[in-house]
Subunit: 356 residues, 2 copies
C-alpha cells in the first residue's frame, strides 16, 4: 500500500526566552530564521519562530514557541532530541564551536555507525549534530559557520519511549515506516528512500518517568511529517480513525501549511503537515523571510495588541538567499488574549489551574 507520509516536515519545541532562542538557532545552530509569527492556539500570546536551511525546505524546519509562563517536564513519551545532519568530518568544528559559545555538549558518540554530538539549548532542550556522508542538502551559513560545516536539515527526531512495541506498531502500521535496525537502546525506522529527513529513532528508556504533554518551556511539543496536500491529510486521518485513533484532530489551517495531529502510543504528539500554496513565501518575499513579525490574516487587525504582549526581539541580519521554488482548513480566527508571556516569580514546574 501507499502511505501519504513522505518524510519529515518540521519539529516544534517550547523554548523559554525569545531572544535567547533566536540567538541560539541563528548563531549557534546556524539556521536561517524564516518566519516570525505567533502560536495560533489558546488565549496567551506567544511567538512562533521558524528556522530552516537557506531554501526553507520541509525536513529542515525547526520551530519554537518561546513559552516562559510554564516549565515543561522532560521525560519519556517526548521527542528527546532533534538531530541535524552535518558533513562527514565536520564534528570537530562543531565541538570547538559549542565550546566557543559555552554550549553544554557531551562530546562525540556513535549510533548506527554515525558519529554525533549531543548539545543543549540554553533552556535545556536537547539537539544533536550527526555526520552523514550521504547528505546532499544545502545548509545556511553564517559568519562563523561555512557552508561545508553547516547543518543541512534534520536527520530525524530521537523519541524517548518506555516501550518499543506499540510505538513501533504505530509508525509502521499507521504511517508506513519500516524498521531498519537496532543498535543497543536505539531502534531505527525509515520511510521512502530513507536516510536523512526520512528517519525516526526510538530511544528505549523503560524506567524513565513520563514527561509532560502540555506546552512548557524546555520540552519538545511535536514532530511533523510531510504529506502532499489536503487530500493526503484526509487520507491519513482516515487511516488513524479506522485503526481506532479517534482523537486525530481536524485539518487545521496553520497558514503556511495545513495539519492534523494525533498522539502516538509512545506518548509523542505526531503531526502530518501539507505545505500550503506559496509555503513560507506566501506572505513575505523569499529573501526577506523571517525579517518581520507576520500574523495570519485573521489576526492581522490586532497586531498592536499582540505586539505589546511579546518580548521585544532583535532579529538576525539577513543574507541574500538563493531563490526558492514556490511550493504548495479549521482555524482559530478570534481570541481573547488574557496575559503576557512573562516568567512567573516561582518558575518551577507549576500546576497552574486553567482560569478562563
Amino acid at each position: 500500500m501507499e502511505y501519504p507520509v513522505t518524510g519529515l516536515h518540521h519539529i516544534t519545541a517550547c523554548a523559554s526566552g525569545a531572544q535567547e532562542d533566536l540567538d541560539f538557532f541563528t548563531k549557534v545552530v546556524g539556521q536561517r530564521m524564516i518566519k516570525q509569527t505567533i502560536l495560533f492556539d489558546g488565549r496567551y500570546a506567544h511567538y512562533h519562530f521558524y528556522y530552516a536551511n537557506g531554501n526553507a525546505e520541509p525536513g529542515t524546519v525547526m520551530t519554537t514557541f518561546p513559552y516562559k509562563r510554564l516549565m515543561g517536564r522532560t521525560g519519556s513519551g517526548q521527542v528527546q532530541a532533534t538531530v541535524y545532519t552535518v558533513a562527514k568530518g565536520a564534528l570537530p568544528f562543531w565541538i570547538d564551536h559549542f565550546n566557543r559559545h559555552r554550549i553544554v555538549h557531551r562530546g562525540m558518540h556513535e549510533r548506527f555507525g554515525q558519529k554525533f554530538v549531543q548539545f543543549n539549548h540554553p533552556c535545556g532542550l536537547q539537539f544533536e549534530v550527526i555526520e552523514d556522508a550521504a547528505e546532499r542538502r544545502v545548509g545556511w551559513s553564517t559568519e562563523e559557520i561555512a557552508p561545508a560545516e553547516s547543518v543541512r536539515g534534520f536527520h530525524g527526531p530521537l523519541l524517548s519511549v518506555r516501550e518499543i512495541e506499540e510505538e513501533e506498531r504505530f509508525f509502521m502500521e499507521a504511517l508506513g515506516f519500516r524498521k531498519t535496525g537496532v543498535d543497543g537502546v536505539y531502534h531505527r525506522y525509515e520511510i521512502g528512500r530513507g536516510g536523512a529527513g526520512k528517519t525516526i529513532i526510538l530511544l528505549h528508556e523503560p524506567q524513565r518517568p513520563a514527561g509532560s504533554w502540555t506546552f512548557g518551556a524546555g520540552t519538545h511539543h511535536h514532530v511533523a511529517l510531510s504529506v502532499a496536500d489536503d487530500e493526503a491529510l484526509a487520507e491519513q486521518k482516515g487511516i488513524y480513525e479506522e485503526l481506532g485513533y479517534t482523537d486525530c484532530s481536524e485539518i487545521k489551517d496553520r497558514n503556511y501549511f495545513h495539519s492534523i495531529y494525533v498522539r502516538s502510543p509512545g506518548g509523542v504528539l505526531v503531526e502530518c503537515a501539507a505545505t500550503a500554496p506559496g509555503g513560507f513565501a506566501k506572505d513575505e518575499a523569499f529573501n526577506q523571510l523571517g525579517s518581520h513579525l507576520l500574523l495570519p490574516p485573521w489576526f492581522e487587525h490586532r497586531r498592536e495588541e499582540i505586539l505589546a504582549m511579546l518580548e521585544p526581539i532583535k532579529p538576525p541580519e539577513f543574507h541574500a538567499p538563493v531563490p526558492v521554488e514556490a511550493i504548495g482548513a479549521s482555524r482559530r480566527t478570534e481570541a481573547t488574549f488574557v496575559a503576557v508571556d512573562r516568567e512567573p516569580a516561582d518558575r518551577e514546574y507549576v500546576r497552574e489551574p486553567v482560569t478562563r
Copy 2:
C-alpha cells in the same frame, strides 16, 4: 472556574462476538439494550451496541463494538474495568448470579470502604459491581434480576496507569476533577457533587506494559464524559488546545450525541459528549429502543449491504419502560466497506498491515 464536564456519559469497549456480547449485557449485567447501530469510522462494518438503565440516561450507557477481526492487548494506559453501582447488600446476589452464568469473578473486595466484585465479559473485558448506599438511580430489571438488585449505572471507570502524576494533572487541570482520596494503589477523582457517575479512579500499576490503543477485541476503547451542548464541546476543545493537547478531534456527529476525543497522558482515550436533541429516542420510540438495527441517515440507503456484513443476532425481548424525557457536527457520510467482521484463522494479537 466552571468546567464544562458534569460527569460520565458513556464507556465504550471492543467486544468479540455480537450475540455473545448482547447476551452478556442483557442477561448477565441486566442492562437494557437501547440501540443497535454501527461503528461510524473506518472501512469495516461493525456493530455498535448501546446498553443502559431503563431511562437510557447518560452515566449508565455502556457501548460496545463487537470486533472479531483483531484482538486487542490489555495493559496499562487503558480503562481497566467499568464499574457499575448496586444497592448496599446486593453483592451476595451478584456472586450467585455470576456462578449460575459461569461468569469468571474474583469474589468480594473493598475499595474506599465500598465492597465490589470484579467479573469478566466472555471476551475478557473486566467489569465490577460495587455497593453504593447513596445510589438513587433506577436500574433495568430482567426475569433474573429484580429492581432492588439491578445495576443502576456507572460508579465510574477504573483507569490503569503506570504513573499517576500527569494523568491526575490532566483530569484536574483540563477537565476540572478534584482529588478525593487514595486507597493503596487507587487514586480517586470526582467532579460536581461526586459519587456514582461523577467519579474516575486511577489504578497505579507502575510496572505494567502498555495495552494497545487501536480497536481490538477484549479492550476498552474510551471513556466519555458528559457536557451540555456543542458550545460546551467547543469550550472544552479550547481548554485542551490552550494546554497543548493539539490532537483533540473536531466535533464529531455521533447521531445520538456530538463528541470530541483527546488522548490523556496516562494513555486513556477521553471523549466529551453532548447528547443531541432527541437523544437515543431520536430515531425510534422510547419503548422500542434497541429493537432494530438503526443506521444514521447518511448510511440508511446502504442498509442491505451493511446488514449482509454483520453477524446475525437475536435481540432481547423488550419490557415496556417508563417514558423518558426528550433531551437535547463532522461525520463520515460515505465509506467503501472492504470486509466482513469475521474472526481470522489465526486470531492472535495480529499485526495486520493497513491495506487500502
